[in-house]
Symmetry: none
Subunit: 133 residues, 2 copies
């Protein structure tokens, strides 16, 4: 039997309140900041369940972390993420949308979804690191 716990609900809400992808660790941290004493293992479990149920989307960052996102087909957009400070900028990408659909269709693929996220160093971190090195 499947039981409803406030923890699972908390994870779902935290994910809903998050723009774009977030790592399990970051989500756990965010929950803690709001005073929730939820455990890390529970966050992983809840995210895994959500992903298995199709309520969340997951992908792997270039660093090998698992990132999760609330699965809302509405309001599709992409992200520009600073790999140093985590700053995230939303980016519209109509060209990419059409490109993805076209590419998929050209190869006979259907039900095309796509993962398009750009990682880099934001202006600030670029400056900081340039000075540091």
């Amino acid at each position: 039997m499947k039981r409803n716990t406030w923890q699972r609900e908390a994870v779902r809400e935290a994910l809903d309140d998050t723009e774009g992808f977030i790592s399990a660790q970051a989500l756990h941290g965010a929950l803690h900041q709001t005073g929730s004493p939820i455990g890390l293992a529970t966050v992983y479990r809840a995210l895994g369940d959500l992903a298995a149920n199709g309520e969340a989307d997951s992908l792997q960052s270039p660093d090998g972390e698992s990132l999760y996102r609330a699965c809302s087909t509405t309001g599709h957009h992409h992200h520009l993420i600073c790999r140093n400070c985590g700053l995230t900028v939303e980016i519209a990408a109509d060209e990419v949308e059409t490109w993805a659909q076209k590419v998929a269709a050209d190869h006979g693929f259907t039900g095309a979804a796509h993962v398009v996220d750009v990682f880099g160093l934001c202006a600030n971190c670029t400056k900081l690191l340039a000075a540091g090195e």
Copy 2:
């Protein structure tokens, strides 16, 4: 200065001899089976170099492993992946490259890398699932 070692050559050849993607660990294992005493760390380094030079392709498996493959087309490109059977098609995406660079630059980001992968159902699986459901 960059030196040529038999180890790097061995990794390149082992990768060439491999169909599809292979993990660093598996490649290391395969090399050992042929009697090569190459070290694991060296395999990782060699694969990283190959990927950096565009001679190899890398992606993350759903398990979080890094998978590598000898690159047919030298240069950066992306993937169209069937989410049912795992079929992978390489796709050139010049438009997306320039788009990613432009977007990053517009926001002051440097060192832009990007994750651009399209998931869908290949023609075959589309047919199979349509029949099955």
